[in-house]
Amino acid sequence: MSNPYAKLPGWVEYGLIPLVNLAVAFLVAGLVVLLVGENPFEAAYHLINGAFGRGEYIGFTLYYATTFIFTGLAVAVAFHAGLFNIGGEGQAYVGGIGVALACLWLDQTMPWFVVFPLAIIGSALFGAAWAFLPGWLQAKRGSHIVITTIMFNFIASSLMVYLLTRVLKPLGSMSPQTRTFAEGGQLPKLDWLLSIFGLEIGTAPFNVSFLLALVAAFGVWLLIWRTKLGYEMRTMGHSPSAARYAGMSESRITVVTMMISGALAGMMALNPIMGEQGRMQLDFVQGAGFVGIAVALMGRSHPAGIIPAAVLFGVLYQGGAEISFEMPSISRDMIVIIQGLVILFAGALENMFRPAITRLFSTSSRRAAVVAQTKGA
């Protein structure tokens, strides 16, 4: 009774409401396109076509989606324990060190399937280590994780500039990046997966780390809903006082959760470094850590929601690039506006249409139930 949001059927809760939010976001984005003096329908065509029009485009869309699955999972895991990890950006960035070290060490002597597992471990370890510090600071010193993770993003950025200009850069090179890896440091593309559907991958960097992302999504589901640790995390996330009552150690859960979150964020680095560039460049994360927050929000912190949400953002990235290519008066910044609107309506204003939809469903269900009732609401 105290809950103003009555329970809705699952398909409304997880299907209709996100779709309505998304539709409104695109509607408003369309208005913005109109304001710039362009045709929103043409923009919509380029967005869809740019994301799905060809096998190559689909490959790019899924390549971006892979990145966002990792960062989205990272944010979601922390959400479940009531922690808001804004540091995915920095954790992914530092995770790159683990990938780069594994590749630089073994790429010339070992095949990719030997280097890959080591790179996975490396990226996870470095990402986890970068998240450990804010977690530990919150657990032991009470420094709020939102503040510290933001600060650690900046520290990571400076650290990586230093490493890529002074330490990891090959002698004599002018660009802030590692040397290009040999074959052992590059992941095979998933051209065979697309060709099952009769699609050509072209130049798209869609690679095996996508499969790893799916495995990670399943792993997160297992962790959260099927392990003792996940149970403790959820207890703390919902009610810290209940966790204390049950004898769960708040500081242990905080630190461990942050490390898992950081490890997932770190694994994102595999996709651009080993899957696309074949080297570690400055700023390879490109805001994916922050997109992960939106993905986790849209996906309701559930792996089954995060995967489609990550694909949606993959569409926005890939299709958006296509819009700015085809329609010069719509710049890259317009795409950022559209992404911002999606985040705004799917995240911050998530509950805006809920009361109306709830009313719709409660009146219709009551009318069905109580025929004798003369007047509805």
């Binding site: 009774m1 403790e232 919902h238 006082s241 204390r244 004898g247 409660s362 007047k375 609401a377």
Partner: protein
């Protein structure tokens, strides 16, 4: 006398699938005290919230003094002469009485004039209704009974003719409650109409002229108080005959299971909440701790169960020391035979967003039977939960339902089932029946006595004096963090009430 102050016609209200009020009709006569009783979730609060403008009815009419009114918000309710005294006071703690009373009725941007006027008006009200209170006192420095008086004055200042009081005695000592009733009588004699919402049948019998009973969203009966009885009202509330006082044999105390010596606990601000408390708890007895809420009972429970660190003191469980002044792992205490039903089941005893079966292992999730390595053994967890749902008659019998969707009584049964089922040596129970319907109270009381008869040591904390007297074999009374007296369960209510108010206790300590 016979004119109608408030009439509700066909009030209907749903929250999604929950039909909170079904076609409610209610007539309240002018100048009477009208009781509204019902179990938790019967729809009393919803009905009163509609009357006071917090919610809008889906359909139905409200008539005040014979005229139909539309009450869209509390301002409209005040304009219609309806005032409300909430269960949890709506006062600004660091404002003075006067400032609180004029809050929202300042009349102009500059306060000077308004203050002078309010002060005068307040004096008049105090004279008229014998409601003395110092207008310049700070709210947080006033005792709860006086704070409530300020709430009443607030309503009167806004010229309320109809006063709604929502569970007004929950936070009062028996003496303060008596005083409140005298005030209400006084108001009635001045022609005010009072609606009293409560679940305490005794209060209804003591003070009301008429009483309406709600059950599951419906108004099931209205009776003249003089023509009904506690038994009839209880039956109307629950829909079946209930035992108001459970049968209980003599206690058979054995060894000391829990020994507390000189326990002192401070809260976050360094205020002493538990002050040098000592007692022994033996196997096969129920020791009740009586006291008005906020006199240290909560902190005492938390310290003993390892949730809150004590400043000093010595606690022994089964003869083994518990490190109450250092780090205590509640899990360790569970392993040593201590079970704890916390006072606040919504935030501590349960995770409301969890499925029932997930809450059924809270605190016992380390148990090997629920684990396969690091994984949860979901089958075992659900099977155990279903078994206990059957044993404790938890409804609806669905282990996968979200806990928030169970009623208060069933939520409490979930906690009790979890804590009792493992046969602990010591069971600590806080507010076993707070927010629990009458039907479930009987069940819970029986189970607690069963535990005692099995030779368990039970420590019971409750702000319901009736409950303490019905269950306990010994009663300790707490006031201002100290145990101010020990009494037999047949001590009179007056005697315990004085102790709870700190009157007798001070004398006793001085002697």
């Amino acid at each position: 006398m016979d004119s109608i102050a408030i009439e509700l016609r066909g009030i209907d209200k749903s929250f999604g699938p929950v039909h909170a009020n079904k076609n409610i009709n209610l007539k309240v006569r002018k100048g009477t005290i009208h009781g509204v009783i019902g179990e938790n979730g019967a729809g009393k609060s919803t009905l009163m919230s509609i009357l006071y403008g917090f919610y809008q009815a889906d359909s139905g009419e409200i008539h005040v003094d014979g005229k139909q009114v539309t009450i869209r918000d509390p301002n409209a309710a005040i304009a219609a002469g309806i005032g409300m005294v909430h269960q949890h006071f709506m006062l600004v703690e660091n404002f003075t009485v006067l400032e609180n009373i004029m809050l929202g009725a300042e009349e102009s941007q500059i306060l000077n004039k308004g203050i002078a006027k309010a002060r005068e008006e307040l004096k008049r009200l105090e004279r008229e209704y014998a409601l003395e209170v110092n207008p310049d006192a700070i709210i947080e420095e006033l005792p709860v009974g006086l704070q409530q008086r300020v709430e009443i004055l607030k309503a009167l200042y806004r010229r309320a003719d109809i006063l709604i009081l929502d569970e007004p005695t929950g936070v009062l000592t028996p003496a303060e409650a008596d005083h409140l009733f005298r005030v209400l009588e006084q108001l009635k004699s001045q022609g005010k109409t009072i609606i009293l919402i409560t679940h305490k049948l005794r209060e209804i019998m003591a003070i009301t002229d008429e009483v309406s009973v709600m059950r599951r969203g419906e108004m099931v009966a209205t009776r003249k108080t003089a023509e009904t009885s506690v038994e009839e009202l209880a039956e109307l509330m629950v829909g079946r005959r209930v035992l108001l006082r459970v049968e209980k044999g003599a206690a058979n105390p054995g060894d000391v299971k829990l020994s507390v010596k000189g326990l002192t606990v401070k809260d976050g601000r360094g205020v002493t909440m538990v002050d040098n408390v000592s007692f022994d708890l033996r196997a096969g007895e129920i020791v009740g701790i009586a006291g008005v809420a906020g006199n240290g009972q909560s902190e005492l429970l938390e310290a003993i169960s390892g949730i809150r660190r004590a400043v000093s003191g010595d606690v022994q469980l089964n003869g083994q020391p518990v490190n109450v002044t250092g780090h205590v792992d509640p899990k360790d205490l569970r392993d040593r035979g201590l079970a704890h039903v916390p006072e606040d089941r919504h935030h501590v005893g349960l995770v409301l967003k969890f499925e029932e079966c997930e809450n059924a292992i809270l605190g016992y999730h380390h148990d090997k039977r629920y684990l396969n390595g690091v994984f949860l053994n979901v089958d075992a967890i659900r099977k155990d939960a279903e078994q206990r749902i059957a044993e404790y008659d938890i409804r609806p019998p669905n282990a996968r339902l979200k806990t928030a969707n169970f009623s208060g009584g069933n939520q409490q049964k979930i906690v009790l089932a979890r804590e009792m089922e493992r046969g602990p040596d010591v069971l600590i129970i806080g507010q076993p029946t707070r927010g629990v319907d009458v039907g479930a109270i009987e069940f819970i009381h029986k189970r607690i006595i069963e535990m005692r008869d099995q030779g368990k040591a039970v420590l019971l904390v409750s702000v319901e004096l009736d409950e303490i007297r019905a269950l306990s074999d010994r009663i300790l009374v707490m006031f201002a963090g100290r145990v101010v007296g020990e009494r037999d369960p047949d001590a009179t209510e007056g005697e315990l009430g004085l102790l709870m108010a700190g009157v007798e206790g001070r004398k006793e300590a001085a002697e």
